[in-house]
């Protein structure tokens, strides 16, 4: 009995110690990034107040000029998602250990996915703007390529966790490896794949607004233009317009995902 109590106390101490360690690491990170510099805050707060003051009231007078960029941003998010799905699916099949035809292909596919994942889309945006010029196209390419890394990984995980038993049944009925994928794996995991895809589309809308900043088209382009003109009333109006669209897109996305359940 005493032994059990001692073990219980020791477990509690270990938990407390790990919690303390997490707190120490967080405080150190805040310190390193200058969070505890009270003077900068003291100087910064009046500037923030002034900026906020300039942002209010938002200036919506140019709203007609934002419709096309907003539509571009929406198109970028959809096109980027479509491209990401088409590229992700084959890579995910190679990166799922239960389907991948060879361990070397598995390793190569996984490496490619994490490489794509590790290049932020803003960097891809800069590269593609340099390659194909300003506009929505570099934005779409940047979104798609970065997302392949993410979407492909999630797809591969869903495929990996597909029930192996119907897969064996399809093999036993003489299904070819391709048929096993199309008739035993995909029917099982389709809801998960659709879920990941729609979630990614919601994310793409927000991300494509940011991509405009590096010249990759859409509403972000208008945002950076207003910022350069130091026209904060217009900046806040554009931000509100983006927010409204994000709310609509997210609501659409979650409605779609609910229907798939």
């Amino acid at each position: 009995m005493e032994g059990i109590l001692r073990a219980e106390a020791a477990a509690r101490h270990r938990t407390a110690l790990s919690a303390l360690a997490v707190v120490v690491v967080c405080l150190a990170a805040l310190g390193l990034t200058g969070f505890f510099d009270a003077q900068r805050f003291a100087e910064g707060i009046p500037a923030l107040v002034q900026l906020t003051d300039e942002m209010i009231p938002p200036d919506f007078t140019r709203w007609r000029f934002w419709l096309r960029p907003l539509l571009d941003t929406l198109a970028m998010s959809i096109a980027g998602t479509a491209l990401a799905v088409v590229l992700s699916l084959p890579l995910a099949l190679l990166a799922a250990p239960n389907i991948s035809p060879h361990p070397l292909l598995l390793a190569a596919a996984r490496m490619l996915l994490s490489a794509l994942r590790s290049v932020p889309e803003i960097i891809m945006g800069i590269i593609f703007v340099a390659a194909v010029g300003f506009g929505a196209l570099p934005g779409v390419l940047a979104l798609a390529l970065h997302s392949v890394g993410m979407v492909g990984k999630f797809y591969a995980e869903a495929i990996e966790h597909a029930d192996p038993m119907p897969i064996e049944a399809a093999r036993a009925a003489g299904a070819s490896p391709l048929q096993v994928v199309t008739h035993a794996v995909l029917p099982q995991v389709l809801p998960q794949l659709a879920d990941v895809t729609i979630y990614r589309w919601e994310y793409h809308f927000r991300a494509s607004a940011v991509l405009g900043i590096v010249g990759a088209g859409g509403i972000g382009f208008e945002l950076i233009a207003a910022l350069r003109l130091i026209d904060y009333a217009q900046v806040s109006a554009i931000l509100l317009a983006i927010l409204a669209c994000v709310v609509v897109v997210d609501a659409l996305g979650s409605a779609l995902r609910k229907r798939l359940k």
């Binding site: 036993a172 009925a173 003489g174 199309t182 008739h183 029917p187």
Partner: protein, 257 residues
């Protein structure tokens, strides 16, 4: 018609972890007969059965078709006309009963062709298979909404949709209650006899084996320890298959459960 549906030619299976699942075994599976593999868990029933359609690759010996071709040489064609019924049904829960039954037709089509819907004639074939197991009215229900016994009948319909010459059934009733198990086995047995389909069915229940088998192959420790008609399955044979303890009256439920 040849005498045998399959020839097991000195097949032995050792798994990569070193477990000897099946000692070298030589058997002819009679055409048109209902053959039961009987034995406790781990006796090698599943391994022997799965070697018959290449789901398990023998480490030694080979399995030959009625024509004498090794099954691994034309595996897809052999699997297409060999139906398999599994202990856990192995259906796709999200698909309808009909959708699951139609996967039985995959072996007859190329990968590209199977991306398009099946022909009307083949859908009709799948529906007829469902009708034979008494589930025509459930054709468009999701498989995961059916009861255990119904799911297993869909599993049988999937095998029938293959228009098989041979059906392999791996413990097809082990996860069903006794009454349902008897009905499902009766159905499977009746269809195989009526259509002249050869059947190899693994079971662990002595009573079911006695009732349905034309021939019983008893396995223990990866070895065939009995081979004969049900009438020859005496106490001595049961002791060889299940060990002497199986005959003690104190623990009958362990064998019959």
């Amino acid at each position: 018609m040849p005498e045998h549906a399959l020839r097991i030619a000195d097949v032995a299976v050792t798994y990569p972890n070193g477990t000897v699942a099946l000692q070298p075994t030589r058997l002819d599976i009679a055409a048109g007969a209902f053959t039961v593999l009987l034995g406790p868990s781990g006796a090698g029933k599943s391994t022997l059965l799965r070697s018959m359609n290449g789901l398990v690759r023998p480490t030694q010996g080979q399995v030959l078709t009625a024509e004498g071709t090794p099954i691994l040489r034309a595996l897809r064609a052999h699997r297409a006309r060999t139906g398999m019924v599994f202990q856990q049904h192995q259906l796709i829960g999200r698909l309808t009963a009909l959708g699951n039954v139609m996967t039985g037709r995959l072996g007859y089509h190329s990968g590209l062709r199977s991306l398009w819907p099946l022909s009307r004639a083949e859908k009709r074939l799948a529906l007829e298979a469902l009708d034979r197991v008494g589930l025509l009215d459930r054709a468009l229900h999701r498989a995961d909404q059916l009861s255990g016994g119904q799911q297993q009948r869909v599993g049988i319909a999937r095998a029938l949709a293959q228009q098989p010459r041979l059906i392999l059934a791996d413990e097809p009733v082990a996860s069903l209650d006794p009454a349902t198990a008897a009905r499902v086995l009766e159905l499977l047995h009746g269809i195989c006899i009526a259509d002249g389909i050869s059947a190899v069915v693994s079971l662990h229940q002595i009573e079911f084996a006695r009732r349905f088998a034309d021939r019983i192959i008893g396995l223990a420790g990866g070895e065939v320890v009995f081979d004969g008609p049900p009438t020859a399955l005496d106490d001595d044979a049961i002791a060889r298959i299940y060990g002497a303890a199986a005959l003690s009256p104190q623990a009958p439920e362990e064998i019959f459960a």
